[in-house]
Structures are given as structure tokens and as C-alpha cells.
């Protein structure tokens, strides 16, 4: 430990965010609901984290997120064990650890919640990666249930008119798919209402993240990783709207009372890529010990980036563009523009990039992005090699040293 790095002082810890307990309660209820869907006569759909969940909510289908499940597995430190199981099943160790862990748990049911509720149907949107396509094909074969793919063409330079037409027609195909497999018609008024709640919830999520533009920040990215769960899983519900309003109020109150998450916040950092789920506590304390706060990240803001530009369109129409242009479905140069904005908005002094061997679309290109950030903005950047769920890919001593060295350069 470097000389001028303080020992972690528990007495100096900032007060916890109160809303956390409400969040846990909501998530528990949500999983109980999902696990007992059959008894309630409801259908369960598995859906990707970047997928359009709103039509499912409007059709009263319970959405379940294997990626959220992957994150839970990671946070419970069950990642390596389930990943190894998948490797025994023939899945290469180089595949995404969310997919490996979830595929293994579908069979083993030894994960933190004893396996996800089985799907009646699968909805996969490839706006985050090609991995989900393969993962959902695997699930469709294993559970023998219908699979809908929403194909959102990658945006290298522009979102073309033909891509817009293609995605929009698929949105109507998606609704047709739901109508067939639910045996009911879509209520389009209800759909617009869900859309309105989704926009409202997403806007509130952005407002929550924006509180960190304040110096010192009332929470950090590590908190955002936790509070993210609802905007992913319950987007489009009143529950999410109410919750984020409560959280937003509380964070504003913290600002008013001068409460910051990192007691002596001096350095403000931006995090890139998924969290390292099994090491969030360690990393959070590590940075705090250097008086550094992670005030923003490209990951949790990907969902507020989904705030559609309504422009007089219906929600379904706006959805086509919004879901196609999410953060990791765009080119490196377009990503740079977004990161540059965040660096300015949140007054960022340095960037920490998680080079995540599980997630190729997020991580390949980081070296170029980093070079642009250093050359054009003069912001120093640290790269940490790890994996979000598979703890075998995390070398604590090496990362510890690298963070210390990086913080020394920031301080000098």
C-alpha cells in the first residue's frame, strides 16, 4: 500500500443509502412473482438486458433476465464453479461468463436462486452482442420453447433508413409473436401507457445518475451497479418510477446535507464496461482509500441512453431507433463522443477501463478508445484485465498494484 494511501476508516464511512432496503424488497417480490408465475396463470419470457421489455409488460408476461441472473451468480461468487460446469458440458472457457454460468445453472439449479423460472418463450435482441443470439438459441433447444429475435443492425456510421424500416417491421412481428404465444391481442392503449412509464422511469434513472455530477458525489458507480436492477427488469412499470423517484429524492437530500459517498472525495473517475461483480466491495474500498470516487460509468448509463426521442412518434416507432443505437451497438468513434460528454458532464479526472474477457463487443476497441481519450482530452486511463463473473480471471495483487500506480500519477 502506498504511503500516502489512507487505511480504510470504517468510522468515516458515509451513511448508507436508505432506498437500498426498498430495492431488495422489490427484487425479492419480483423473483417470487416470477417463480410462481405458473400458479398465477402467467407466462414467463426470458429477455436480453437490452431488449424491448415494454411489450411484455403490456401483455402481462413476466420478463426474466438471464443476464441479471448472471450478475447475481457473480456477486454471490458462484461464477467460477458454474462456469467450470459449463466447460464440462463442452462450452469453451473463452465464452461469455454470463452465458456459461446461466447455461450451467439451467441444468444444475445450484445457483443463488436455484435456477431461473423456466421460460415459456424467449426474446433476444442482439443490440448488445452476438453472444446473446447463441445463448438464446441454446436455451430454445434446451427448453424447447419459441424464440423471437429482434435484429438491430450495428451502427458503424449511421442508422440507415433501411435499417429503420427493418427494425420497425420486426417490432410488429414481435407483437405478433407475443399475441400468438399468449393467445391474447395487444391492447395498444396499454402499450402506450407502458411506454410512457418506461420513458418516465428511464428519465428518472438518468436524473439519479446525474446527481453524481455534483461535487462531491452523493453515490458512486458501485451504487449505480446495484440500483440499476429495476431499470433493467421493471422498466415500464409504476414500481420502477416510484422507486427511482424515492432514490432521486434521497440523493438530492444527501447533496443538500453535504453527504458524499467517498468521505474525502478528491479524484473523480469514470468506469468503463461491466462491473466486476465478485469484487465490487473490494474495488470500491480500494478507490475510496485513494479518495477517488467513481462518479459515472458507461454501463449503467446505457439504459438512460435508451431514452427515446419521441418526436411525435408512438412509443413503438421511437423504440426502433432507441434500441438500435444503444451504447455498445455503435462504432468506437461514436462511443468516444458519448464518453467525451460524460467526462465533461461529471468533471472526470481519470478513466478506469475494465477489459472484460467475457464481453468482446464492449472490450475490443477499448485500446483505441483509450488512445482517443488520452490524445484528444488528455484524460489518463487505466486498464484492468478481468472478467465480470468468472473470478479465475482476476489477479488481485496485480490489479492492486496497478491501481496504486495509476492513482499516484493522478495525484502528481
Amino acid at each position: 500500500m502506498a504511503d500516502n494511501q489512507k487505511k480504510h476508516d470504517p468510522a468515516k464511512k458515509a451513511p448508507k443509502i436508505q432506498a437500498v432496503s426498498r430495492m431488495k424488497e422489490i427484487m425479492t417480490n419480483y423473483y417470487i412473482d416470477a417463480k410462481t408465475a405458473r400458479e398465477q396463470g402467467k407466462k414467463v419470457a426470458w429477455i436480453t438486458s437490452g431488449g424491448p421489455v415494454e411489450p411484455l409488460i403490456a401483455m402481462d408476461v413476466i420478463p426474466v433476465y438471464p443476464e441479471n441472473h448472471g450478475a447475481m451468480i457473480g456477486a454471490s461468487k458462484m461464477g467460477a464453479q458454474l462456469c467450470e460446469k459449463a466447460e464440462e458440458m463442452g462450452y469453451s472457457r473463452d465464452l461469455c461468463s454470463y452465458a456459461r454460468a446461466d447455461i450451467a445453472d439451467s441444468v444444475e439449479k445450484t445457483g443463488p436462486i436455484g435456477g431461473l423460472p423456466e421460460p415459456d418463450m424467449l426474446v433476444c435482441c442482439n443490440n448488445i452482442c452476438g453472444t446473446v443470439l447463441k445463448w438464446y438459441e441454446t436455451a430454445a433447444r434446451y427448453f424447447n420453447v419459441p424464440l423471437f429475435i429482434l435484429d438491430t443492425p450495428f451502427v458503424h456510421r449511421e442508422f440507415s433508413d433501411s435499417a429503420r424500416k427493418y427494425v420497425l417491421s420486426q417490432i410488429y412481428e414481435y407483437i405478433g409473436f407475443l399475441e400468438t404465444h399468449c393467445g391474447t391481442k395487444m391492447d395498444y392503449d396499454r402499450m402506450e401507457e407502458v411506454g410512457r412509464l418506461s420513458v418516465e422511469g428511464t428519465g428518472l434513472w438518468q436524473a439519479v445518475l446525474d446527481t453524481c455530477a455534483h461535487r462531491p458525489a452523493p453515490m458512486t458507480a458501485f451504487d449505480a451497479f446495484f440500483h440499476l436492477a429495476l431499470i433493467v427488469t421493471l422498466r415500464g412499470t409504476q414500481t420502477a418510477v416510484d422507486y427511482y423517484r424515492q432514490l432521486h429524492d434521497e440523493l438530492n437530500q444527501r447533496i443538500a446535507n453535504g453527504v458524499s459517498m467517498v468521505p474525502d472525495e478528491k479524484y473523480r473517475l469514470l468506469w468503463d464496461n461491466l462491473p466486476v461483480w465478485y469484487k465490487t466491495r473490494w474495488l470500491s474500498e480500494k478507490f475510496a482509500a485513494h479518495d477517488a470516487a467513481l462518479v459515472a460509468d458507461t454501463y449503467t448509463s446505457a439504459w438512460s441512453g435508451m431514452l427515446p426521442d419521441m418526436n411525435g412518434q408512438t412509443f413503438l416507432e421511437a423504440m426502433a431507433e432507441t434500441y438500435t443505437k444503444v451504447y455498445i451497438n455503435i462504432s468506437i468513434d461514436m462511443m468516444f463522443d458519448i464518453v467525451a460528454n460524460m467526462i465533461e458532464k461529471y468533471h472526470v479526472d481519470g478513466m478506469v477501463m475494465h477489459s472484460n474477457r467475457s464481453c468482446k463487443p464492449y472490450s475490443l476497441g477499448q485500446y483505441d478508445l483509450r488512445q482517443m481519450i488520452m490524445d484528444r482530452l488528455g484524460v489518463p486511463t487505466l486498464i484492468i484485465e478481468a472478467d465480470m463473473v468468472d473470478e479465475r480471471a482476476f489477479s488481485e495483487s496485480q490489479i492492486d498494484t496497478r491501481i496504486d500506480a495509476f492513482m499516484e500519477t493522478l495525484k502528481s
Binding site: 462450452y91 469453451s92 452476438g130 441454446t138 435484429d151 435499417a163 462504432s331 468482446k360
Partner: protein
């Protein structure tokens, strides 16, 4: 040079071939990495489409841009571009397939410094009407981009002529495959691999002349070729590029008689309707009906069925999967493909290839054990 010698020399040094075409004819050349690159359209624009396979040498420059957990095709392709090994190219076209190629396109565009860069963001779904329409739109947009970049109009007649040329090539390659399956002893172990590489690199008209001459010549001696009495193997895994493993397999006592590789049988699968009113739709329809690449989506068990059918049709004794390290789409399909083979009682073996295949002797022992067991 005999045709066979030419195929081998093109395989050994594809860039050397490209450079000589450039020097002799000044012709525009576009590189590509994947069999979803619409070569017919590139050729119709008077441009030579030339497939890239990535360097077989050391990676150094690409390390500044790509992490180590990225397949060797992507890393090796970038290395070649940054080193100047591809200086004869006017640019490259990137059809959308896997996550790694998608990012390579960005990195290439930002760093490789070629005059032209094309992204053909084809649909990932290949089994719906709207995807078909979108694919036609993308192909048509690609034609417009080519026209603007190279100042040449592409007429339907040009596309139809290109379609005919490639259909002929596909037909001849199919004949080569059929002959090898009947009489594996006629061919050197790697000969067909060299032919396939040459087919994706050489000027189409020149290749067609050579392959036709080659078939005439080898076909005339086919009658005398004895049966080898060796085990019959099929290669699968369909990786985008693969090293020469044929000699090792031969030493292990087996003939490769068929494959399910993109640089093999998948390349000539399916012909395109000739003289179609809408040639772009005809090109699209081949892509939609061809057996699906794992980076694309159609029927979710089609690849498994296709593999088992091909293995039975060709009467193979076993299947060897080649898997390129860090290749997600193919690695995801492996367990299910293996399961399909297992249920059909067709033995299989998985070989993982990093940049190079595992050390020769060690691999040879594994292959021998596998072949003995068949």
C-alpha cells in the same frame, strides 16, 4: 506453372498474388474476411475481391489495438494491414458477422489507412421476409457505395455476368469435392485446401481456366486410382480460416473426404439464379438458403442436421472439429453439434487451434488414437 502449382503458390502467398495483379493490371482490389462478402457485386464493379486469412507470422502491431482474447483471424488480419503487407488493396469490405469482426471493422477504418472502407451490415436473421428485404436493401446500398467510390456504374447485366462466373466456379469446386470423396488417393493431402484458397483469392476468370484444366487432367487419370483403404474423415467447425492440418491427418492414416467449413464445402454450396430480373434478390436468396453460419440465425437445429446428413452421405468414419480459440459463434455451437453426431453414432474429435495448431507430434498422437478407434 501447372494449375496445381499455381494453386499452391497462391495459397502460400496470397498477398504476393494480389500484389502481382495490382502491378500487372493496376486493377482495384478489395479485401474481405468472410463468405458473406458479396463477391459477385464487387466483381461486377470490375474490382477483384480477395479473401484475407490473417498473417501466419508474429503478432506485434495489432497488440496495441486488440486484446489477447480475440481470434487469430482478427488479430492476424489487422497485423497484416498495419504492417503494410496488404498495400496492394484499395480497401476492404466487412459484412456483419461476429462481435470481433464488427469491432475489427472500426479499428481497421480508424487505423489501417486504406482509401476505401465498406460495412455491409447484413441482417443476422435470415429466415423472415423483412430480413430478406433488408438484405436486398443492404446489397443495393453497397452497390451504390461502390459506384460512388470507384466511379463506375454497376448495371444488372454486370451483376448477372458476375453471377454466372461464380456459379461456374462453384460448379467446378463441387466437382473437385465429389472426385476427392470418390477417389481420395488422387489428391495430395492438402491439394483441395490449396484449391479452395486459390478460388477465394484469384481473379475469377483466371481461376476458372485453371480449375477446368486441372479437372480435365486429374479426371483423365481417375480411373486408375486405387482405393486407399484408409479411414474417411470430415472436417467441421466451419472456422473462418484454418491452417494446413491435412498432412497430419494423412500421417495419422486418414483421408479428409469432405468438410463443413466456410473455406471448404460451404463456399460452393448453392447456386444463384442466372439472368434473374432482380439479380440482387438472387444474390440475397443464396445467402438466405445456404446452410447458416453460426454467427447468423435461421433454423436452430439446421446445422446439426446438415452435419449429420453430410457425414452420412459422404460415408465418413468420423468428424474432426477444428475450433479457433476465442471464436464465440462456433464455440457456442460445438456442444450441440457434437450431441447430434453422438446420437447418430458418428465419432468426433475436437481440436482447438490458437494461432497455430497444437505442436505437431502431440496432435499427431491424438489424431492417431482417434483414427485407430474408428
Amino acid at each position: 506453372m501447372t494449375p496445381a502449382e499455381r494453386f499452391r503458390s497462391v495459397w502460400r502467398d496470397p498477398a504476393g498474388y494480389g500484389r502481382s495483379v495490382k502491378q500487372e493490371t493496376g486493377r482495384s482490389i478489395l479485401g474481405f474476411f468472410c463468405s458473406y462478402a458479396p463477391v459477385e457485386l464487387i466483381y461486377a464493379a470490375g474490382i477483384l475481391p480477395l479473401r484475407l486469412f490473417g498473417t501466419r507470422g508474429e503478432i506485434s502491431l495489432a497488440d496495441t489495438h486488440l486484446q489477447s482474447y480475440c481470434c487469430s483471424l482478427v488479430r492476424g488480419g489487422l497485423e497484416d494491414a498495419l504492417k503494410g503487407n496488404l498495400d496492394f488493396l484499395d480497401g476492404a469490405v466487412f459484412p456483419h458477422t461476429c462481435d470481433s469482426i464488427q469491432r475489427l471493422s472500426d479499428i481497421w477504418r480508424l487505423n489501417a489507412g486504406f482509401a476505401h472502407h465498406f460495412d455491409a451490415v447484413l441482417p443476422v436473421k435470415l429466415n423472415t421476409q423483412s430480413a430478406r428485404q433488408y438484405m436486398i436493401d443492404v446489397l443495393s446500398g453497397f452497390c451504390r457505395e461502390l459506384e460512388t467510390a470507384f466511379g463506375k456504374q454497376i448495371r444488372d447485366a454486370d451483376i448477372n455476368a458476375a453471377i454466372c462466373a461464380y456459379n461456374q466456379i462453384r460448379k467446378q469446386l463441387k466437382a473437385v469435392y465429389a472426385l476427392r470423396s470418390q477417389k481420395p488417393g488422387l489428391f495430395e493431402p492438402s491439394a483441395v485446401h490449396w484449391i479452395m484458397t486459390a478460388a477465394m483469392v484469384m481473379e475469377p476468370a483466371a481461376f476458372l481456366r485453371d480449375i477446368t484444366a486441372f479437372l480435365d487432367q486429374i479426371g483423365s487419370s481417375a480411373g486408375d486410382a486405387p482405393q486407399t483403404g484408409r479411414k474417411r474423415l470430415m472436417l467441421a467447425g466451419g472456422i473462418c480460416t484454418h491452417p494446413d492440418v491435412y498432412d497430419l491427418l494423412a500421417r495419422a492414416g486418414a483421408d479428409v473426404v469432405w468438410d463443413d467449413l466456410c473455406t471448404g464445402a460451404r463456399y460452393f454450396e448453392g447456386t444463384i439464379a442466372e439472368d434473374a430480373k432482380d439479380p440482387l434478390a438472387a444474390v440475397a436468396d443464396r445467402y438466405l438458403s445456404r446452410s447458416v453460419c453460426p454467427a447468423k440465425h435461421a433454423d436452430i437445429t439446421a446445422r446439426g442436421r446438415h452435419l449429420v446428413d453430410a457425414a452420412r452421405e459422404q460415408g465418413v468414419d468420423g468428424v474432426v472439429f477444428l475450433q479457433l480459440k476465442f471464436c464465440d459463434p462456433h464455440a457456442f455451437d460445438y456442444p450441440y453439434l457434437k450431441q447430434f453426431l453422438d446420437s447418430a453414432q458418428i465419432p468426433s474429435l475436437l481440436i482447438e487451434i490458437e494461432d497455430q495448431p497444437p505442436p505437431g507430434e502431440q496432435l499427431l498422437t491424438r489424431l492417431e488414437t482417434f483414427v485407430d478407434m474408428l
